[in-house]
C-alpha cells in the first residue's frame, strides 16, 4: 500500500532563533521573543518549592512594570540540570525561558509536522520539526512553557508572598 504522506507545511519563511539546552538544539520563532538577555537582574522565585508543578519556574524578572516568570527549559523538557546563561523573554507572554546559550537567527521555509509516533507531552512542546543542515531541530511552542492556569497560580503565589513580606 502506498503511504499517504503528510506534507510538511510550506508557506512564508520564518525566522527562528536557535538555542541550546542540555546539549540539545531547539528553535523558537524570532517573533515570539522580545529580548535575549543575561541572567543579571533575575530574582529567585521560591513559590516553586511550595507548588511542585511550578518547580520549573526558578526566577522572576520585573521589566517595564510587568513580572515575567522565568521557566527552566531543562526542567520543562525533563532534562538533567544544565548551566543556563541566557534568558529569552517571550513576547506578549508572562513566561521567559532560561536556556544554556543562544546560537544564531536563521530562516526556515518548511515546518515538518511532528511524526504521529510521538504521542506524549512533546506534541504540546513542539510546533513541529525543522531540518537545518540535515539536522532535525524541534521548533518549540512558546505557549507551552506556562499555561494560562499556571500563570494565574503563579500570580496568586507572588501576591501571597508579597503580602507576607509586607505584613
Amino acid at each position: 500500500m502506498r503511504q499517504k504522506r503528510v506534507q510538511p507545511r510550506r508557506g512564508a519563511s520564518e525566522n527562528v532563533i536557535l538555542f541550546t539546552v542540555g546539549g540539545f538544539r531547539f528553535a523558537i520563532a524570532a517573533g515570539a521573543v522580545s529580548e535575549i538577555r543575561s541572567m543579571e537582574g533575575l530574582q529567585r522565585f521560591f513559590g516553586g518549592t511550595r507548588h511542585k508543578a511550578m518547580a520549573k519556574v526558578l526566577y522572576t524578572l520585573d521589566r517595564n512594570g510587568a513580572t515575567h516568570f522565568v521557566v527552566s527549559a531543562a526542567q520543562h523538557f525533563r532534562l538533567p540540570p544544565s548551566r543556563p546563561t541566557r534568558v529569552l523573554i517571550l513576547r506578549h507572554a508572562a513566561a521567559a525561558l532560561l536556556v544554556d546559550s543562544t546560537d544564531r537567527m536563521t530562516e526556515i521555509s518548511v515546518l515538518h509536522a511532528l511524526p504521529l509516533a510521538f504521542n506524549r507531552e512533546e506534541r504540546d512542546w513542539y510546533r513541529g520539526l525543522a531540518i537545518l543542515n540535515a539536522e532535525a531541530v524541534p521548533v518549540v511552542n512558546p505557549s507551552a512553557f506556562l499555561s494560562r492556569g499556571e500563570v494565574a497560580v503563579l500570580r496568586a503565589i507572588t501576591e501571597q508572598m508579597q503580602g507576607v513580606a509586607v505584613g
Binding site: M1, Q3, K4, R5, V6, G22, F24, F26, F77, R78, L79, H112, P115, L116, A117, F118, N119, R120, E121, E122, W125, L129, I131, A134, E135, A136, V137, P138
Partner: protein, 142 residues
C-alpha cells in the same frame, strides 16, 4: 494449523533471533544513518532519522523482543505504521541483514504475546510474525 495462503514476509534479526513482518508493511532496509535525538516522553522512540528530506521516527523494539542484551543495531528496517486513516514510516533498528521469503504462516502453538499473529516454520527455526501496532501498544502500556 495453517493460517492463510502463502504470503511474503521480511525476516529481520535481533541478536540470535529473527522475527518477521508482512512484506507489505515494509518499505525499505536502510543503511546505518545518523540517529537524531531531542527531548520527548514517548516510550520506545529513540529519535528520528532524516532521510531524503523526510523525518522518520525510530522505534527500538529490541529490548521488548530480546531483552536488554540485544547487540548493537546496524541497520534500519523501515515499515509503515497505521495511525487511524494515516500511515507513517517508522524505522526499526535491526542487528543484521534482512531476508524476504514467501511461505505459508501457521497459527502460533502455545501461549505467545498478543502481538505475535502467527509463526513461520523454516528449516531449523520458528520465526514469530509481529503485528507492529500491537507490539508498540503493549510495550507503551507496560
Amino acid at each position: 494449523m495453517m493460517l492463510d495462503d502463502q504470503k511474503s514476509f521480511v525476516l529481520f534479526p535481533l541478536g540470535r533471533k529473527r522475527f518477521a513482518l508482512p512484506a507489505e508493511k515494509v518499505t525499505e532496509l536502510a543503511k546505518p544513518d545518523r540517529l537524531q535525538t531531542f527531548p520527548h516522553r514517548t516510550p520506545l522512540l529513540a529519535g528520528v532519522l532524516v532521510r531524503r528530506g523526510r523525518i522518520v521516527p525510530v522505534c527500538d523494539v529490541a529490548h521488548a523482543l530480546v531483552g536488554p542484551d540485544a547487540p548493537p543495531r546496524k541497520f534500519y528496517l523501515i515499515a509503515n505504521r497505521q495511525f487511524e486513516s494515516r500511515n507513517e514510516w517508522t524505522a526499526i533498528p535491526v542487528t543484521g541483514e534482512c531476508e524476504l521469503t514467501s511461505i505459508q504462516p501457521q497459527r502460533p502453538a502455545g501461549k505467545l504475546p498478543a502481538y505475535v499473529t502467527g509463526v513461520l516454520s523454516l528449516d531449523n527455526e520458528i520465526v514469530e510474525i509481529l503485528a507492529l501496532e500491537e507490539l508498540i501498544a503493549t510495550e507503551v502500556a507496560i
